[in-house]
Symmetry: C2
């Protein structure tokens, strides 16, 4: 096990009808709050009304700020920082998925900072303080509700970078599985893939000796996520399956999974960022297009590890040939993705295979920024060819 540090002070309030607790968990942090949300689906579902009512019952004055878009942009956050200051607010309540929460974190870091909030993303400055953020989660995927990270796109520079820092942990996050019933099904399933890949980046890229605890942690969550996804495919209102997905996605990326795995890297996320920067694909769908191909590319690097995944997650019977077992596991994964109507390669996702060179060109810049030295243009091209589809 490699050395690690772990710290995560976010308070989780999980369960049915817990949305109405947002006032109570927010009140200790401020009396004038920015209520941040996305494109308005939370208005239709009534979640926003429940939130506002709860905040007001706790004596909190609410300043609405809607309109965060799916791939959230810097300019929106910058305007919100100005509004937050002008209205002399105390805290932010984020109602939504990763995009809304990541935007909340960006605003939270920007408010007490003199310079341009982009400095935190470009690496020019470190987040030393932030205004408090509380969360009502509506789409499990990114685990932003229980981690200190966030991703924003700078439209001017066309860079999709991330921010991080202890002050950015949400103070409290409300996870009510019922709030996820109404999400479009394909988005819920893409969220599951995102959570799975968060775990698999660590699982397949660790160089640590003896990862028994970490492997079993990841395998248990992945199996549960897949089982639960298969349930909501036909029963979107299944509370137990939605619960497992909601808590499973949080556990997948709240910092526990990589404890002891060493520096693992995020090569699949890196390549996906490039896909979604160029084409209009959801993050989870993009990851699904890359995952099986990347596994085929990477397989020979540690066949036992990929075979183990096949045995423990897909119940493939172990044989004397780990490479063959591993390949069976990848086929089983592709089959499962197919059964969920999730694209398992570029062709299935409608990405023109002829444009692989441009995608690789775009991705290699991020590989350099993220310190993924192995991922040269040639290597990324190879991964993308494995991911092309027949």
């Amino acid at each position: 096990m490699d050395n690690f540090t772990f710290y995560n002070p976010t308070r989780i309030v999980f369960g049915k009808d817990k949305t109405a607790n947002i006032g109570k968990v927010t009140a200790p942090w401020g009396q004038r709050v920015m209520l941040l949300y996305g494109q308005g689906s939370v208005k239709k579902t009534g979640i926003l009304d429940t939130v506002k009512q709860s905040l007001e019952q706790s004596g909190i004055t609410v300043f609405e700020c809607g309109g965060v878009q799916p791939n959230p942009v810097l300019s929106f956050a910058q305007q919100a920082i100005e509004a937050f200051r002008a209205d002399k607010l105390d805290a932010i309540v984020a109602v939504g998925g990763g995009s809304v929460i990541d935007t909340a974190k960006t605003i939270a870091a920007g408010v007490p900072y003199d310079g341009n909030v982009w400095d935190f993303f470009s690496g020019k400055a470190k987040v030393e303080s932030a205004v408090p953020v509380t969360v009502v989660l509506t789409l499990p995927a990114a685990a932003s509700e229980m981690n200190s990270g966030g991703v924003i796109t700078n439209e001017q520079t066309q860079q999709k970078f991330n921010i991080m820092g202890d002050p950015l942990y949400p103070k409290a996050s409300i996870l009510d599985p019922v709030n996820t019933f109404s999400a479009p099904l394909h988005h819920s399933l893409y969220g599951v893939v995102d959570a799975m890949v968060h775990l698999l980046e660590g699982y397949f890229n660790t160089t640590s000796h003896n990862t028994a605890l970490q492997d079993r942690y990841a395998e248990g969550i992945i199996r549960t996520l897949m089982e639960s996804a298969s349930v909501i495919k036909t029963e979107p209102d299944n509370y137990e399956a939605r619960s497992n997905i909601m808590w499973g996605a949080t556990l997948a990326f709240n910092g526990l999974a990589p404890c002891g795995l060493g520096a693992t890297g995020f090569p699949m996320h890196m390549i996906e960022h490039s896909l979604s920067a160029i084409y209009d694909v959801s993050h989870g769908a993009g990851l699904a297009m890359i995952l099986p191909g990347w596994m085929r590319y990477r397989l020979l690097n540690s066949p036992e590890r990929f075979a183990r995944f096949a045995h423990t997650v897909f119940d493939i019977q172990p044989t004397a040939d780990p490479v063959a077992d591993a390949k069976q596991g990848i086929v089983a994964l592709e089959k499962w993705l197919g059964s969920m109507d999730i694209p398992a390669n570029l062709q299935q996702g409608g990405i023109p295979v002829a444009e692989i060179p441009q995608i690789a060109q775009n991705a290699v810049m991020l590989a350099q920024k993220w310190g993924l030295k192995e991922y040269t243009t040639d290597v990324i091209t190879e991964v993308l060819q494995y991911s092309a589809g027949e």
Copy 2:
């Protein structure tokens, strides 16, 4: 999945040679600290010197307070509270296992409190504030290094009660597996049993529907703990096995495992408290004497659950008869305990079976305090008879 809240702000610093970081993680909390430890083994091993040196290098003035005993007592904590106040200290650094950390928490809660610190244990008062505690862990078992609980015995009233509260989470805990190499082997193995039973109390006593995530979490940690215990039995200095035990025991009782399981209760701990109150047995050894018998008592209540344990933890081949499978699992557990030289029943532990009535009489008081209504004197007697041994 049942509703739950989760909150755990303890910072974990894990790994080889991390003991020397105690100064750095303690400095933000105070400049004059009480250095609390047990019977002096940390002096012999040199851990205490490393800690003192690190604290002093961070400009911290150290006030030593050694002598915490294995079943820590109230009077010691009360004296330490007076000393803490008299010396105008800021924080406590606990170097040891559960006994030392639990004593540190008792002192921490008592210092800012006007009344008798026992009020927190008896339920007369709630912990609203506490002085900061940091930890260097030397014996993994109780997970007190990453939870908000503690157990103390009031010698006057002969009550072994517990304290709890958010202010009692250690601010930071250093987990260096090397610090556990020198612990007596049987204590290390008892610690493993303690951690396993922490998980099994939730695993077997849940009434929640769909506990897929929680079951796999527990099963993964239990398997890893057992594998690692088998390794240190012959290689006490095996770093990887010690690492798995150290982090596994923390994960077993840091509040994550019961998330979603509902109100589960601690019947095995309840009966064990009575054992160790009357006889001179280690907590983990006492739990091991109770565990298989309690499982036999409880089996028919949810045979599928006990069968699942047999399948997933002991690789028992599933048959059509869950009760038979479950019993095979219990036999496998007893066999494993035997192979670790851990007593698997009262006879093996040297407890006079003729005294079962007295033990039950003693235990039933705690059953009432803990709200375990099912556990009448008759039921506890029945469990103890199952635990008697041939």
